[in-house]
């Protein structure tokens, strides 16, 4: 079903990028979650004292309504950082997996072997999903260990795992859009225009909608609205959005593969 040599090659040419981003995620997680102090004033107040405008704090999702430990993690890590960093990784990798190879004609070598297009493209697509899974799994494991050591009395493992299951589905859905773009376009330029443009557009809308109540209607224009971290923590009202994210992921990946298998390749 998949080509192991190709999967291994993907791993080999991307592991440095993955390690760097895992290190960055671990660092931010430690710093930001490590700042939690139930007795001190909230980070929101600290930022206000630094004369940062409230709207800016809101845009980055750093406004805290919930002073619990979970609330702290959600606001400061899952509101922005955990949305953006994995996204950068799979934008880069999705483009490399297909469009860049077609652009540079190196895809010709893969297809001149006795592996079907289907096998090649399924391998490439699964690798993107694997990367998303790996990053979220890493944060889940690292985060759990970090929190168990530092904030044992406030940390609830099951809530944290659910939070990450949610973010995993979100990223699988968005990465499938990047992969679809990579499969449709024959050059890096157009692949990135949509493959990076759409997710970045979504995240900008997501930031903008938090700035003011008047912009609340924008939530209908971004896929990030389908991930409400607080809902996932409480396992409350998540089925609908989870199903929707899974459908997006399956549809985009399926369509991407179907499109690639049947298209003309000028390589």
């Amino acid at each position: 079903m998949i080509s192991m040599p190709l999967f291994k090659k993907n791993l080999k040419s991307n592991y440095i990028l993955l390690l760097v981003f895992m290190a960055v995620l671990a660092m931010y997680f430690s710093i930001i979650v490590g700042m939690y102090n139930p007795d001190a004033m909230s980070l929101n107040d600290i930022m206000l004292q630094m004369n940062l405008p409230q709207q800016m704090i809101d845009a980055f999702g750093f406004s805290v309504s919930d002073s619990s430990f979970s609330g702290h993690i959600v606001s400061f890590f899952y509101g922005f950082l955990m949305l953006v960093f994995p996204m950068i990784v799979y934008i880069i990798i999705s483009n490399k997996q297909v469009a860049s190879m077609v652009d540079k004609s190196s895809m010709a070598y893969l297809l001149s072997t006795n592996n079907s297009r289907k096998k090649i493209i399924v391998t490439q697509g699964l690798f993107v999903m694997f990367v998303v899974f790996l990053l979220v799994l890493f944060v889940t494991i690292f985060g759990s260990i970090f929190c168990l050591i530092m904030f044992d009395e406030y940390f609830i493992l099951s809530e944290f795992i659910m939070l990450n299951v949610g973010v995993l589905l979100l990223h699988l859905a968005i990465s499938s859009i990047c992969f679809l773009s990579s499969c449709i376009f024959n050059d890096t330029k157009n692949s990135l225009l949509f493959g990076a443009g759409i997710p970045i557009f979504f995240i900008l809308i997501n930031m903008l909608k938090d700035v003011s109540d008047k912009l609340d209607f924008l939530k209908y224009f971004t896929i990030y609205s389908l991930y409400d971290p607080n809902a996932w923590i409480n396992s409350n009202n998540i089925i609908g959005s989870a199903v929707f994210l899974i459908v997006v992921c399956l549809f985009c990946n399926g369509f991407a593969m179907h499109y690639f298998i049947n298209k003309d390749l000028h390589i």
Partner: protein, 296 residues
């Protein structure tokens, strides 16, 4: 039995680009040269055979299997050298070849090692640091190393120095003896003469000629540039029974069909400084080959 068969293939990219109503077939064990200027549709035809693109109409068959649907199955028997060389840059030559071997599920690497020695390649260098000729040699090893029955080579000698071009010709002749079927595109009539049994000329996507190479060589018009020792000799020479195209000072251009011996006989009576054949464009050769027939 034909191994490669193209039937009434059409692929229109607009602007007279593409291939139009193209048909030819290649028998087992034949080395087939595909000649034509840039943008004539040689690569496009090869991409059809490899199943990278679908024709608008008509069909391509390899071993009687339709090419687009059976691409992966066909690849068991095909070695392909792309016209544009771009590998996975971050690999060394050896890592790339091993990777391709793994992708193909190859068990035996004897031929790979043999070819690396044959072309005298240093495979420990990163591909992005290699010169064009070295990359081309890596590409050739990659196309031949799994010992396929059919070879599709897109401008195989581009970037190779003359020594390596001869090595390549040696390799093709060796493979021919082993009964391989080879389709190669080229700009160079000399290269085709030395290797191919049959030749097809393609121009603006249409087949304009299809011949045995032996016929081509036999009927070939050649032009020679002869420099004489003195003007007096030139004046004598141009009265001989020979096709003189032009003469200026002590240099004479002579046209010869089929038999060069007559010219040599005549020349033996003269004192000449130099004697060289003029490289002719493909089109010139074929226009004369077909008696100036209008192929447009």
């Amino acid at each position: 039995m034909s191994v490669i068969k193209v039937e009434k293939l059409n692929k229109d990219y607009g602007n007279h680009k593409g291939v139009f109503d193209l048909s030819f077939d290649i028998e087992r064990g034949v080395v087939f040269g595909f000649l034509g200027p840039n943008g004539a549709g040689k690569t496009t035809t090869m991409r059809h055979l490899l199943g990278f693109i679908k024709g608008d109409s008509g069909q391509c068959l390899i071993n009687d299997r339709e090419c687009f649907k059976n691409a992966a199955l066909n690849m068991n028997d095909i070695g392909y050298l792309p016209g544009e060389i771009s590998f996975f840059d971050d690999m060394t030559g050896n890592a790339f070849l091993n990777f391709m071997g793994e992708m193909r599920g190859m068990k035996k690497f004897k031929k790979k090692d043999y070819l690396i020695k044959f072309f005298d390649i240093d495979t420990s260098i990163k591909i992005k640091k290699m010169s064009k000729g070295m990359k081309q040699k890596i590409g050739l090893v990659c196309a031949f190393m799994h010992d396929p029955d059919i070879l599709i080579l897109d401008e195989p000698t581009s970037g190779l120095d003359p020594l390596m071009q001869n090595k390549f010709i040696e390799l093709i002749n060796m493979e021919k003896e082993n009964g391989k079927t080879i389709l190669m595109s080229s700009h160079s009539i000399e290269e085709v003469e030395k290797t191919c049994d049959k030749v097809a000329i393609i121009k603006q996507g249409r087949l304009v000629a299809y011949e045995d190479v032996s016929q081509l060589v036999l009927n070939r018009r050649k032009i020679y540039r002869i420099k004489f020792h003195s003007l007096l000799e030139v004046n004598n020479f141009i009265t001989e029974k020979i096709n003189v195209l032009s003469h200026q000072d002590s240099v004479v251009m002579v046209e010869v069909f089929n038999d060069i011996n007559k010219l040599i006989d005549i020349l033996s009576n003269y004192k000449i400084v130099s004697f060289e054949s003029v490289v002719m464009s493909l089109e010139d050769i074929f226009m004369t080959f077909y008696g100036g027939e209008n192929n447009d």
